[in-house]
Symmetry: C2
Subunit: 233 residues, 2 copies
């Protein structure tokens, strides 16, 4: 099983497009200083407060970036899919991790030594610019997210999460089932609400024929309506 994963895994230079701009030497440097780590379902990849040591790229699986707030309430900040880099922000900012990251499902993570990553950032301008773009996009998203989570009402927040998940992870073959299966609790933590309210609101959406549910499988029936609810707040 683990062996199968090893052979299935695309090499680090292929999963993440950011390496495109590296010289052959730099590529070798990256390859020689990278390892793969495997994580079980629900296993934590790094904790808030820890000192970052590696720049990471999710090779496969799905993961959540989250923060524990007041009174052990959890807020999911961002979600990761294969090919996405993470864990590097803290290193660049020269601080500790600001968030936790955990795998939703069995995951493989490429880990590039921190000093190697920083060294390339400092020498290869195109590579540096590439990450500048990445952070610029993330910051815009984060600011929007702040406003959406604070101002929208429950229905709007949940509708937004469903649209986000479907856009981010895509649909299954039927073209309607969202290609990620979250627990109600995770869905609640993504949408800033209690688990009970996530369940209740999902049920309302089913009654209103906006979505269909089969356990954790969520199918979007009326995307237009969902979009409207998300927009209205």
């Amino acid at each position: 099983m683990v062996k199968k994963l090893y052979t299935d895994l695309k090499p680090i230079e292929e999963v993440f497009t950011g390496w495109d701009v590296l010289t052959p030497d730099e590529r070798r440097f990256v390859k020689n200083n990278s390892t793969v780590q495997y994580y079980k379902k629900n296993e934590v990849i790094h904790y808030e407060g820890d000192t970052p040591t590696h720049m990471m790229v999710l090779a496969n699986g799905k993961a959540k970036v989250y923060k524990e707030g007041v009174g052990s309430r959890t807020q999911i900040i961002r979600m990761l899919k294969p090919g996405e880099p993470f864990g590097y922000r803290a290193m660049i900012a020269n601080g500790t991790y600001n968030t936790n990251v955990a795998a939703f499902e069995p995951a493989a993570v490429y880990m590039l030594k921190g000093d190697v990553f920083i060294s390339i950032l400092r020498h290869n301008n195109a590579f540096c610019f590439r990450f500048l773009e990445e952070l610029a996009a993330d910051l815009g998203d984060s600011d929007s997210r702040t406003v959406n989570l604070t101002q929208k009402h429950i229905r709007g927040r949940l509708a937004e999460s469903l649209l986000f998940l479907s856009k981010s992870y895509g649909m299954e073959e039927d073209g309607a089932t969202i290609n990620i299966y979250l627990s109600r609790e995770d869905l609640a933590n993504l949408s800033n609400m209690t688990t009970s309210n996530a369940i209740r609101t999902l049920s309302s959406f089913v009654n209103e024929h906006i979505i269909a549910m089969d356990g954790r499988k969520l199918k979007i029936i009326d995307e237009e309506k969902l979009r409207k609810i998300s927009k209205m707040g």
Copy 2:
């Protein structure tokens, strides 16, 4: 008056430390492609949705970065003080402005042509890295802010805002009065609450001898208690 401002103004290379890493040629390039714009109290510097044309640095005055959310509710995302760059995130992300920026008080803004800014980013690695650090720090702040604004209760959010303002803008000579005078509405928009509730909560803090008020002048009496309230939520 305007003339006085002109002569008082430090040159663009001095207000913002990011230029340190430029070559003499680049410095000249920046100087030759920069202008100064003056804004009146409450004047908007740029709007959400506009296409960015310049990288800007607040030369003097104070400004707010904010978003209009659902039902014309406003959320202040960030506040600017002299020497801080802004308006460049959208340019790097190759999109439109995600936020509005407006001056709290009469302000002077250095404006560097966008293509010049991008060109230097793409050629000077140290300069690029400098902005990478800037964005990395801002993203960490934004993520924390999301959680604080969604999970803390009203008192916690207001306490946090007061601590933030005092740290960010400093104190007056008395060592206690916060060196920025915000309207109740702005304070509310910074703290994600209605104006009425900002006023009510400020009054409670006064009754509890945590702060003292004199119009818009806010004096922190018991910082320890404020910190505790902010932490507890």
